[in-house]
């Protein structure tokens, strides 16, 4: 089943590859249609997913026995939401790409390959396989930014590639080290997450390996001060690239920290609570502060990502039930809202070919529907109660207050700063009277554009009003992570940090 989920986009890419390059009008509709298939499969998986600890839909085929590498797939409550998010965002990203007019065939092929790779990252339970997907997806994203981006696209693509490849290179050394250790301790090499998390590591080794993995993921997230590639990549990428970059690829970092760092190196993770927490909070405040002064709408959303992902990192290293659940659900929330914001910025860019805030003003009057969607997504992003962002940020803050109270208090200011930079941007772009001639004649959203935004809007509402639809499925897995950490270290989650200690959404499932 999961194999098919990975293979379907690849087969789709092959199908698109076989169509004639000249039939430009065919490629994107075909890509959308083909990316609906994995979406359907992912929704089925979501429905069939049982809220339990075990890896579900697991598959295992040996790849090359003597090396111990395997095609080892499975999903749990931490990865399942990411898989669904990925499959939701790809058709929307393709639907937003009608402005891509040159080399459409390649564009769709790269997007579908990117989808396969991203799904692969989330479903891999073998570190070798995980690395293969983690590194391979750089290539299609590199092409998407480098070919269809704006003026400084080659520079941005190169920076993106080298920066992230640098991080994953050291992680590769870490993966090799783990496999060699497994060979020394057990007698055969293995890359399976389950095998490697049972290794007996010295504290020193664990810290080094934690650092190697954390660096790779921190660059991907990006955690301050490793974020400098992100604004370039986002500003230069085409809309579809930005949606997938912010919506899914940044989550590879937060997902990796939760899945691999906490699972494989519990002792080092406990030791790193403060370092990671402080970096996360710096990211929250710094990202928000820089976002306030951005003159470019897209850059503003990009820096807001730095700020929002800081919450996810903080929640992860709070090492409490609330923190971890908040981190997982915030992964989804950020994907939905920031994906939607990039989509909206892309729509206005298509009309005006500028992203400068100062070029706009009074758009509310001209494009009321657009303004409505924008305001809605801004509210979701700020974390207005009733919308999805509230659930995630609330859980993270509650969760981290137990273990890192000072940091939680500082982080809470990020919510206020978010309100400042987003609402101020809204004010400058949408309120008042349209002064510029170009702005007076702008067309409001078309049916196609509303269709793209509608599912995201619906999900933002659904997760805001009824988060348990997801939290119930997440909780067993995040609890298992905490159990694992408590079992392998002296760390005990301080009360009231665990489910059952206090009312936390999703608690009634226990």
């Amino acid at each position: 089943m999961l194999t098919w989920l990975v293979l379907l986009p690849i087969l789709g890419a092959v199908a698109v590859l076989l169509t004639p390059a000249a039939r430009r009008e065919l490629h994107i509709p075909m890509g959308i249609a083909l990316s609906i298939l994995p979406l359907g499969l992912a929704l089925y998986l979501f429905a069939a997913f049982e809220p339990q600890v075990d890896m579900q839909f697991a598959e295992f085929h040996s790849w090359y026995e003597p090396w111990g590498i395997a095609w080892n797939l499975g999903i749990d409550g931490i990865s399942m939401p990411m898989v669904v998010l990925t499959t939701i965002l790809v058709p929307i990203a393709l639907g937003a790409s009608t402005t891509v007019t040159s080399r459409t065939k390649e564009f769709v092929v790269y997007t579908l390959l990117l989808e396969a790779g991203m799904i692969g990252v989330f479903v891999s339970l073998d570190l070798f396989l995980f690395f293969v997907f983690f590194e391979t997806i750089l290539i299609p994203m590199y092409f998407i930014i480098g070919i269809w981006g704006s003026e400084r696209r080659v520079y941005a693509a190169m920076k993106f590639f080298i920066y992230t490849a640098f991080g994953s290179a050291l992680m590769l050394a870490g993966i090799i080290a783990l496999a060699v250790l497994h060979n020394d301790q057990v007698g055969s090499p293995s890359f399976a997450l389950a095998d490697l998390s049972g290794l007996d590591l010295s504290v020193g080794a664990e810290r080094w390996l934690f650092a190697a993995f954390a660096l790779a993921f921190a660059i991907k997230v990006p955690v301050f001060p490793l974020h400098t590639w992100l604004p370039d990549a986002h500003t230069e990428a085409p809309t579809a690239g930005s949606i997938l970059l912010a919506g899914v690829m940044l989550k590879l970092g937060t997902y990796g920290l939760l899945r691999f760092n906490l699972q494989l190196f519990p002792k080092a993770s406990v030791d790193a609570i403060w370092i990671m927490g402080i970096l996360a909070v710096i990211g929250i405040v710094y990202g928000a502060a820089v976002a306030i002064v951005q003159p470019d709408l897209k850059k503003l959303v990009a820096y807001s990502s730095v700020s929002h992902l800081g919450f996810i990192v903080l929640g992860t290293f709070a090492l409490t039930s609330g923190g971890l659940q908040g981190a997982v659900i915030q992964n989804v929330n950020h994907g939905l809202t920031t994906g939607a914001l990039f989509l909206l910025v892309g729509m206005i860019y298509d009309r005006r070919h500028t992203k400068q805030i100062s070029e706009f003003g009074g758009l509310q009057k001209v494009m009321p529907v657009f303004a409505g969607f924008f305001l809605f997504m801004i509210f979701a992003s700020i974390g207005l109660p009733g919308l999805n962002g509230f659930v995630g940020e609330y859980l993270v803050l509650i969760g981290s207050f137990t273990t890192l109270p000072v940091l939680a208090i500082i982080a809470a200011s990020g919510v206020i700063l978010a309100a400042i930079y987003l609402l101020w941007a809204y004010e400058r772009v949408f309120t008042g009277v349209p002064e510029k001639e170009e702005n007076k004649a702008l067309a409001d959203l078309s049916i196609r554009e509303i269709t793209l935004l509608a599912p995201l809007t619906a999900l933002v509402l659904l997760l805001g009003l009824y988060p348990n639809i997801l939290l119930d499925k997440i909780a067993p897995s995040t609890e298992a992570v905490l159990d694992h950490i408590e079992a392998s270290t002296d760390y005990v989650v301080p009360a009231p940090g665990r489910l059952g200690d206090v009312f936390v959404a999703g608690g009634e499932g226990e």
Binding site: W63, Y64, E65, P66, W67, F128, F131, V132, F133, E135, T136, L138, I139, Y142, F143, G146, I147, R153, V154, A157, M158, F161, I162, A165, F166, A169, L170, L172, A173, I176, A177, A179, V180, N183, P189
Partner: protein, 485 residues
């Protein structure tokens, strides 16, 4: 009088190649056929050589199973028929076949001199083939010289071009110097151990404790310099960029690949089999060479404006990666790496030859701009090959790098692995520069015509790069069986 039992099978592949070379020259003199006929003769000799190698492989497997490994030592210990030799020869033969195919347009353009080029290729392969099978160091030297001299002449085949002359002279002078250093090293090893044979040296070091191995080590150091030159490992790499750039595009890929395969197989044999007992002495030196090669190759490749010079420096970096495998101490990783890299190299130069046209050596990065529009096939193939050389996943290059890194890490050389992964990232940058030029530059490239023969080479090179990246077991299991005696 007792006639010693001669195992002809041990040298039949080389005999086939040499006979092929002779036949090409004689047929040319007698009938002056079109060069296609000469190509068929050459192909026939390569196929026969491969067929005899298959027989050797079967016999090696039988003998090892029966425990009669002595049968695999032929000609009183001059040559061996072990897995290492046979795998190395297969790689050489594959590169020869694809090299001739990729160079066929260039060879045809030589007119009546095409027979010379084909014969030189076959002779070079015969020489290097003896070199990979040699147990006796003098025999190894003979193979090295037969192969190298043929390559010097090949480098200078386009006499009308000054750059080709320069490349040939430079290659010849520095190469003969390296060979002289190599044979001097062999003499010192002989002085220290009383043995020319690799297996004998191993036995000597196994049965005696050498209190001051200085003479052996100096000899070994000189041998390493000689071989380091042939495989273009830093700091003995300075000839490579000029030769890669100056020699005729059609045959450069072949030249670079065979020298690497033979040099590394010989180095593996000497270091891992012969003086394995002294590894505490040579491991640090080889590790330093590896680190230097990776860093020098990757960083200098960044600043090149010519694709063939870039590939030369990337070859220096790859020499470093393979040396990392030598440090790792097992032949599996080295052989796999050699096999996949040499095919990628031949493929990459097939692209370079197509872009710069027959014989012409112009290969500035400029001429690759917009290639994706002019020839999607060429650009796509080149991209896969470059990503393979860069070692990105889903290509054989990743598996190859992963293999040698893991072995080096397991052998305790962690710092070297960290240098290696960082050098790989630096290397990404210049492989990407070529891809940027092909895909992201709008300016118009010249129309490119890709000969059918090059298409075949590229399809095989790209196909194996992806196949062995996804299903590495098919080649890895062969490489792990290909053990030295």
């Amino acid at each position: 009088m007792i006639t010693p039992e001669i195992s002809w099978l041990a040298i039949l592949p080389e005999v086939m190649l040499a006979l092929g070379a002779a036949a090409v020259l004689l047929v040319e003199v007698q009938w002056k056929p079109v060069s296609r006929v000469l190509g068929i003769i050459a192909a026939g000799s390569v196929v026969l050589a491969a067929a005899f190698s298959v027989l050797q492989w079967a016999q090696a497997a039988d003998s090892i199973e029966l425990g009669a490994t002595g049968d695999l030592v032929a000609f009183s210990g001059l040559v061996l028929m072990d897995g290492l030799a046979i795998f190395g020869r297969f790689a050489l033969l594959a590169v020869t076949a694809f090299g001739l195919l990729a160079g066929s347009r260039y060879i045809e353009s030589l007119g009546r001199r095409s027979a010379e080029a084909i014969a030189l290729v076959l002779l070079a392969s015969a020489g290097f083939s003896i070199m990979v099978a040699a147990n006796n160091l003098v025999m190894m030297f003979l193979g090295l010289e037969v192969g190298s001299i043929a390559l010097y002449v090949l480098a200078g085949m386009s006499r009308e071009r000054a750059r080709s002359d320069e490349a040939a002279i430079k290659y010849f002078l520095l190469g003969s110097f390296a060979s002289a250093i190599f044979i001097y090293g062999v003499a010192l090893i002989y002085a220290g151990t009383g043995e020319f044979e690799v297996l004998g040296i191993r036995e000597f070091l196994g049965s005696f404790v050498v209190f001051s191995p200085a003479v052996i080590l100096i000899g070994l150091g000189l041998v390493l310099v000689g071989l380091g030159f042939k495989v273009s490992a830093a700091p003995f790499h300075s000839w490579a960029p000029d030769v890669y750039q100056g020699a005729p595009a059609g045959v450069v890929g072949y030249m670079a690949a065979v020298a690497k395969i033979a040099g590394f197989v010989a180095m593996t044999r000497i270091l891992l089999t012969g003086v394995g007992a002294l590894d505490a002495n040579w491991l640090p030196i080889v590790a330093a060479m590896a680190a230097l090669s990776m860093l020098v190759g990757s960083t200098l490749a960044l600043v090149q404006g010519d694709v063939r010079r870039m590939l030369a420096y990337s070859g220096v970096a790859h020499a470093g990666f393979i040396l990392t495998g030598v440090v790792g101490g097992t032949t599996e990783g080295i052989l796999f790496y050699l096999a996949v890299y040499s095919l990628q190299l031949v493929g990459a130069f097939a692209v370079a030859a197509a872009v710069s046209g027959a014989g012409n050596s112009e290969s500035a990065l400029e001429s690759y701009r917009g290639l994706a529009k002019k020839s999607p096939f060429l650009a796509g193939s080149f991209t896969v090959l470059l990503l393979g050389m860069a070692g990105l996943p889903v290509t054989s290059g990743f598996i190859a790098k992963f293999g040698v890194f893991t072995e080096a890490w397991a052998n305790g050389f962690r710092w070297l692995v960290i240098v290696a992964v960082l050098a790989s990232v630096i290397a990404f940058a210049f492989y990407l520069r070529i891809i940027v030029a092909m895909y992201m530059d709008e300016s118009e490239a010249m129309a490119v015509d890709v000969p059918a023969s090059s298409r075949w080479v590229l399809m095989v090179a790209v196909g194996t790069t992806i196949l062995w990246g996804i299903l590495p077991g098919s080649l890895l299991s062969l490489a792990s069986d290909a053990l030295p005696l």
